[in-house]
């Protein structure tokens, strides 16, 4: 626990040692704003809510979260520092969780910096702030789920670009698994329970439920168990690949 936090602290500071943090936050804020105002029609909708803002988060995270996660392990392996890290008196779990927490906290920071959206909507009308809070929590948890996928895949390669592309693809499949586009592909031949299982894996379905203001225990369990599973795979992948 202690070691995990030390690693998380080092990692988190690391984001700010390079322009990465600045670039990421600026682009994230610009894109969330642009999508909410221009594509989502924040003003023309005439409703005092942030649906047009949160609705695009799955799509933004799809690209931006793997960009955060790709370096987590691939960079350590490429530069050889993994040998330093893994010969310090820390367990692999500490290292995996520490790095994950740092990246997740960073996503949280980027998300928190969208607060002007919340101020704007409160000045223009009187939105249901409970729904907005639930949506923020949902968005943060979803980012964590995307990040656990990216972190795990990052530990499978030394190449950050490969880590990014594969992570983004896997995240895309998870996001879209409820859409007809993906389901049609399976419906012809797969048994019904498999199609249902696939549909239930969809980030969109679970995230939509949360943004309507209902934090259902099954959505929480969904994202939570997904993170646990991917981080568990991450620990195994680090153990198996560290020496290569």
């Amino acid at each position: 626990m202690r070691n995990m936090l030390i690693i998380a602290k080092r990692e988190f500071k690391g984001y700010f040692a390079t322009p990465l943090a600045l670039v990421f936050i600026v682009i994230f804020l610009a894109l969330t704003g642009a999508f909410a105002f221009y594509v989502g029609g924040f003003f023309t909708r005439g409703n005092a809510d942030l649906v047009s803002f949160f609705g695009y988060h799955p799509w933004l995270f799809l690209l931006l979260v793997p960009a955060i996660g790709m370096r987590l392990w691939a960079e350590e392996r490429k530069s050889g520092t993994i040998e330093l890290l893994m010969t310090l008196p820390v367990s692999t779990l500490d290292a995996v969780l520490g790095k994950f927490l740092a990246a997740w906290a960073f996503c949280g920071l980027a998300l928190a910096l969208t607060f002007p959206m919340w101020i704007t909507v409160n000045m223009l009308g009187s939105p249901d702030n409970g729904v907005i809070l639930a949506s923020y929590i949902g968005s943060f948890v979803m980012a964590g789920a995307f990040l656990s996928i990216s972190s795990c895949i990052s530990s499978l390669t030394k190449n950050q670009v490969i880590a990014f592309i594969i992570s983004a693809t896997v995240c895309f499949l998870f996001t879209m698994s409820g859409a007809q586009l993906v389901l049609n592909f399976f419906q012809g031949w797969a048994p019904g329970y498999l199609v249902d299982a696939l549909r239930s894996m969809s980030f969109l379905t679970h995230f939509d439920a949360v943004t309507r203001g209902v934090i259902d225990i099954k959505d929480v369990v969904f994202f939570g168990s997904l993170m646990v599973m991917w981080l568990f795979l991450n620990v195994i992948a680090v153990e198996l690949n560290k020496g290569r």
């Binding site: 690693i7 080092r10 520092t81 040998e83 020496g243």
Partner: protein
């Protein structure tokens, strides 16, 4: 003396490749063990297994009585390790990096600051404490890596090519540092610089193709050199033939090789038949016969030659070497 590191039939296979093949070895407190071997011999892989980075395919490694596969974190607490190439987090400055290591090593309070200050002084990095590590020269990077390894004053120090890529002054510094710390630690350093072994190691082992081929004090290894205790004499060409005859008549002399030096003098390289010192006898003979000699020196033998002979000797030679060791 306390045994700090014990390797028992340590083996590592990567698929069909056997990188380390059944190494048995023990290192005591106060010893500086030089790990010698050509590139790809299995030196680094062995070190990675001792430090818990790789797990052995067979056999075991114990540090201070703790088995590395049973309690890897316990072993890692007792080891200071400098990986090959001294990898460090490039975007951090040495100060932040050493603070991170101190946190992870669970140093706190006065002891923590004292250790950091001491280590900065020992490896002389005070001037670069706030520059990102990636902007530092190779010598400084290596020293930061070394600082990281010795920060918690570990009882076991494992250094993979600590002086690789350093200039002669920096090499000398690092060697002095190792010697200073050696008395109360068990140290393993890997290197393919043979002079380093003679300079800092109390014991040397030679590894090739994953096997331990020789184990002994650097002086013992030198004795295996055909040139050990050989004598080189420089004489004028006029008297050369007669001297050659006289040299051959000595019973302790092995082979006599004749060559011409740059200044047109004749050089005799006289090896010892048994490896025992022959210089007094040769000198006495020359004096008795009244030969004029412009130079006479004894050879220690080069570790390079021994190294080449052992590591290239093929499997038959390797077997006899291990039997002797």
């Amino acid at each position: 003396m306390a045994e700090m590191i014990a390797l028992s039939h340590l083996t590592k296979r990567f698929g069909p490749l056997t990188a380390v093949d059944g190494i048995d070895l023990s290192v005591n407190k106060g010893e500086v063990l030089g790990f010698l071997g050509p590139n790809g011999a299995g030196k680094s892989t062995t070190m990675k297994m001792v430090t818990g980075f790789l797990s052995p395919t067979e056999g075991s490694a114990t540090v201070d009585g703790i088995d590395v596969t049973r309690d890897p974190v316990g072993v890692k607490q007792r080891i200071g390790y400098l990986p090959e190439g001294a990898p460090c987090y490039g975007d951090m400055a040495p100060r932040g990096f050493l603070n991170f290591i101190a946190d992870i090593r669970n140093l706190s309070g006065i002891a923590r600051n004292a250790s950091i200050d001491q280590v900065i002084e020992r490896v002389e990095i005070a001037d670069v404490m706030d520059q990102p590590i990636e902007t530092l020269s190779k010598g400084f990077k290596r020293r930061v890596g070394l600082a990281q390894a010795i920060l918690h004053n570990p009882p076991v120090l494992i250094l993979d090519e600590p002086t690789d890529g350093l200039d002669p002054n920096q090499k000398h510094q690092v060697r002095t540092l190792i010697q200073q710390m050696a008395s109360d630690k068990a140290v393993i350093i890997s290197t393919h610089i043979l002079e380093e072994v003679e300079a800092v190691c109390t014991r040397a082992v030679i590894i090739a193709r994953g096997k331990l081929l020789a184990d002994g004090m650097p002086e013992d290894l030198l004795k295996r050199s055909p040139l050990h205790n050989a004598v080189e004499i420089k004489v004028s060409p006029a008297a050369a033939d007669e001297i050659a005859k006289d040299l051959a008549s000595l019973t302790s002399v092995g082979q006599v090789e004749r060559s011409t030096s740059i200044d047109a003098q004749t050089l005799f390289s006289v090896t010892s038949k048994t490896g025992a010192p022959i210089a007094p006898e040769v000198a006495a003979m020359l004096k008795e016969k009244g030969h004029a000699v412009s130079d006479l020196k004894t050879e220690k033998g080069a570790l390079d030659a021994v190294f080449r002979e052992i590591t290239r000797g093929g499997s038959a030679a390797a077997k006899t070497e291990t039997a002797n060791a």
